[in-house]
């Protein structure tokens, strides 16, 4: 298995290149505003990593990643909001000490599920755990009954719809359609200053690279290979004695926890959380940028998240009418013409040439890699 170590070394090299890009090149090249935008896009990278494991490897298409992204984001926002609505800061309200939107909705006491969020530790634990728990419940209910494929996709989509309607409908408890806004400090540290944004950007980047490494480890392990086997021939894996449902639940929960972390980092960097990041449309967009980048490549999906979101911001600023056309065409093109996305293009066309160019003496080695990965889809 010499190729396997070669692959691992190459993957680590690519991850290091990515780390250098987001931690050295971009911070040096961009002004604080643009860098904050990149930080925002990178939070979607967490979702993309989760989707590669869950969708690309295990073949479970979830149209509900927005739920988990949103839940993580809301957990963080609830903590920050409580800190921003201390009794001193909200003297003018009829009930001081509760968030302003609750006061506007004639709520006079903090609801029970808000109370634990006074504690930062609790909030930090809740960020990955709440999404993972919900994913666990959904996963047990669905996968134990062998619901999969399109049905699973539609049901997760319905849950995303339910959660959005619930958040918008219960404005007194959730801030409604505006979401939770006006977040200021975290344990007394102002998160709105340029310096804080830079620190948060690097925290986000480090977390993202760490997640990449963990996900890479999962994919290289036996567990990862079972996930791929399940995608290709579920029955054979079941007949070999594996508990297919348990592996699916793991993949789904893993993706959910990562999405939750992404959501929390999003809240910290952007300074608010609203239902517009939870519903059906953002959930599908998450799947799309994962598909654009390459559903079977961790780095590809993260680059996809960066590229699609960057394009979205640029185009919708300059050419708002053309944006939806471009986006729609892109999706169709990716699905019909390049099912493996940017990563597939790289793997099939650029990597072999690059390999030949860099080390002409090893002409045989890289082609084996390309075929091995290409054959998985």
């Amino acid at each position: 298995m010499t190729t396997s170590t070669y692959l691992a070394r190459k993957d680590v090299l690519l991850i290091l290149l990515f780390a250098a890009l987001i931690m050295a090149l971009l911070p040096l090249a961009l002004d604080p505003f643009r860098l904050n935008l990149v930080g925002k896009y990178l939070t979607y990278g967490f979702v993309a990593i989760g989707l590669v494991i869950c969708w690309g490897d295990a073949g479970i298409l979830s149209l509900g990643q927005g739920i988990f992204f949103g839940l993580g984001g809301y957990c963080m926002a609830m903590f920050l909001k409580l800190e921003a609505s201390s009794v001193g800061a909200t003297k003018i309200q009829s009930t001081p000490g509760i968030p302003d939107f609750m006061d506007w909705n004639q709520i006079t006491a903090l609801p029970w599920f808000w109370r634990p969020f006074h504690s930062l530790t609790f909030a930090l634990v809740a960020v990955p755990m709440v999404p993972a728990l919900l994913a666990f419940v959904i996963g047990v209910a669905m996968f134990k009954r062998r619901v999969g494929g399109t049905y699973f996709a539609i049901i997760t989509q319905a849950i995303a719809a339910i959660l959005t309607i619930l958040i918008i409908g219960q404005q007194g408890y959730t801030g409604g359609v505006n979401g939770i806004t006006d977040l200021r400090t975290m344990k007394g540290w102002d998160i709105r200053s340029d310096h804080a944004k830079l620190v948060l950007y690097f925290a986000n980047a480090i977390l993202l690279v760490a997640s990449l490494l963990i996900a890479q480890f999962v994919r290289r392990s036996k567990l990862g290979r079972i996930l791929v086997a399940m995608r290709e021939r579920e029955d054979r894996v079941r007949f070999s004695g594996y508990d297919v449902a348990a592996f699916k639940i793991f993949a789904f929960c893993f993706a959910a926890a990562l999405a939750g972390i992404g959501g929390a980092m999003f809240t910290l960097q952007v300074g608010f959380m609203s239902p517009s990041f939870v519903g059906i449309v953002p959930s599908i967009e998450m799947v799309i940028f994962c598909a654009v980048g390459g559903r079977t490549s961790l780095l590809g999906a993260v680059y996809g998240a960066l590229a699609v979101n960057w394009a979205k911001t640029t185009f919708s600023e300059d050419l708002p009418q053309l944006w939806l056309f471009a986006m729609g065409t892109l999706f169709i093109a990716v699905v019909v013409v390049f099912p493996n996305g940017l990563a597939g293009l790289y793997r099939d066309h650029i990597a072999p040439r690059l390999g030949r160019f860099l080390r002409p003496q090893l002409r045989l080695a890289p082609t084996g890699d390309g075929r091995k990965q290409g054959a998985t889809r």
């Binding site: 298409l61 209910a141 319905a158 409908g169």
Partner: protein, 308 residues
């Protein structure tokens, strides 16, 4: 929550809400029928289904404007022409889309979802460029605006009755086409076993194209009917797509009766609950119930027995 209403009031409330539920039910059935044909028979997830519906609504809007401008004398009957045209236009677009896009993706059902989502974005932007982002309403002829007084407290709106009549007609037609006509036998044969169907001389590609066009055409009719009870905007289709998919899945994807039964259950539950809870909470409760039941019974209410 039932305190404070007399028995007669409650009866009237249930009758009126029940009728409102029936109208909602009819629109649901129309929307879901198209999807039941496309998703249930072909297994294609068409996320642009809502946009085909909106296309029908815009066709109706255009026809009403045309009649108001050039044929005011015949304005009273424009609606029937609009329905036929909505079917033809949406069906033709569906046929083109099937040929250009869908037929390349039959082996990858989850990918059709992404591709048709892209399509729905493009269609939305087309509508926005042509008709503007604002909502447009269709002006109904006078005779469709009134209502029948059944008793003192119960009124039945006429446009609701028309929607129900259209739904009944379309449902009967679909039932005949899919389950009784020779063409429907070909459709079901292709869906059950494509290779064998091809071997006995059925042109599978043509059957696919026509089936998809039929589903889209019905969506167009649904949109046309929808203009009578709501206004049309470029993004309105997206609001209904989840409900519609749930109706089809809840009913059991391949069963026509299942689709109708589940549309009935969902719409009645929702309109009855809307009177007591807020609209959004009623929707949440119903969706939660449906998702809960689907978790217990993933195959839906009615299952077509099939040997795979």
């Amino acid at each position: 929550m039932l305190m404070g209403y007399s028995l007669a009031d409650l009866g009237a409330i249930f009758a009126m809400q029940g009728f409102a539920g029936l109208v909602l039910f009819s629109v649901f059935v129309l929307m879901a029928l198209g999807l039941a044909v496309i998703f249930g028979q072909m297994g294609v997830i068409n996320m642009a289904h809502g946009e085909f519906m909106i296309l029908g609504a815009y066709v109706t809007f255009l026809i009403s404007k045309l009649f108001a401008a050039f044929l005011p004398g015949a304005f009273a009957i424009y609606f029937f022409l609009a329905i036929v045209l909505a079917f033809i236009v949406a069906g033709a677009l569906g046929m083109a889309i099937e040929w250009l896009l869908i037929r390349h993706l039959y082996r990858r059902p989850l990918d059709t979802l992404l591709a048709t989502w892209g399509l729905s974005l493009i269609l939305q932007q087309v509508y926005r460029s042509i008709f503007g982002a604002r909502e447009v309403g269709v002006e109904l002829p006078n005779w469709m605006m009134g209502s029948l007084h059944m008793t003192e407290s119960i009124e039945i709106p006429i446009n609701g009755l028309i929607v129900m009549a259209i739904t009944t007609l379309i449902t009967a037609a679909v039932y005949y086409l899919i389950f009784r006509a020779p063409w429907g036998r070909q459709v079901r044969a292709v869906m059950q076993n494509r290779a064998m169907a091809g071997a006995v001389g059925i042109d599978a590609g043509r059957v696919d194209r026509l089936t998809f066009a039929l589903g889209c055409g019905i969506a167009g009719v649904a949109g046309s009917a929808f203009t009578m009870i709501g206004s049309t905007s470029p993004t309105a289709g997206q609001l209904y797509i989840v409900d519609t998919f749930l109706v089809v899945v809840f009913g059991g994807a391949q069963s026509l009766i299942g689709t109708i039964a589940s549309a009935f259950t969902i719409s009645q539950a929702r309109s009855t609950m809307e009177f007591f809870l807020s609209g959004s909470m009623a929707q949440v409760v119903v969706l939660l119930l449906v998702v809960g039941i689907l978790m217990l019974r993933p195959q839906g209410l009615f299952v077509l027995k099939l040997r795979r």
